[in-house]
Symmetry: C2
Subunit: 100 residues, 2 copies
Amino acid sequence: MDIIKINASLANAARYDILRWLKDPEKNFPPHKEVSGFGDGVCVSFIKDKSGLSQSTISHYLNMMENAQLVIATRIGKWTYYKRNEAMLAAYFKALQKDI
Amino acid sequence: MDIIKINASLANAARYDILRWLKDPEKNFPPHKEVSGFGDGVCVSFIKDKSGLSQSTISHYLNMMENAQLVIATRIGKWTYYKRNEAMLAAYFKALQKDI
DNA sequence: ACATCAAATCTATAAATATCGATATGTAAT
DNA sequence: ATTACATATCGATATTTATAGATTTGATGT
């Protein structure tokens, strides 16, 4: 776990928002048409729509967050779904609490 | 409290270290000559020495951290002492826990 | 094979950050 | 007032980040 990298991931309002939105996909996103529920997370297009940022920017941000292990990506058909990595978030939180 | 600004402050290894060092000044810094103990924190020079970065960089970083309300500065004579803002750190932690 | 669509990658630019050396400011001692 | 010292600010440059449009890749359906 790279705490500095995680902090950098969370040092941008759009990315911070994404992580919050993913806590409650039912509340924050419309239902998917190709899969039922949000078990694998939320597709990139929905996150892009909600954020108002461009597709390339969101793809880039999600990649950064995946690299920091904050989220987990799952490709199904044409879509990539992103969900929170709760284990890493819990570990991060614990480490932060200890350090700070 | 600006969580994004705080996260940005903590997205740099030197600044993250400083905050950690300030948790235990007795352990991490030599004793001051002009004041007794670390009640008001640690002087800039000691932090600079320990970090290995230039005086201007450290002064800048401490200013950033003060701006994010992570630390509190106290000027005594020629020296400025910096200590952790424990109240803000606790509030930050609580907010982060809620958001994330 | 081809067209279509979602997402990823590439290219580019503007803005912010990291960091330093040089200079200025504030305080204390002479 | 002058000197000395600690810290702050200024000016500069290199690196990184933010963000978008264009292009490519991967998957599906025809």
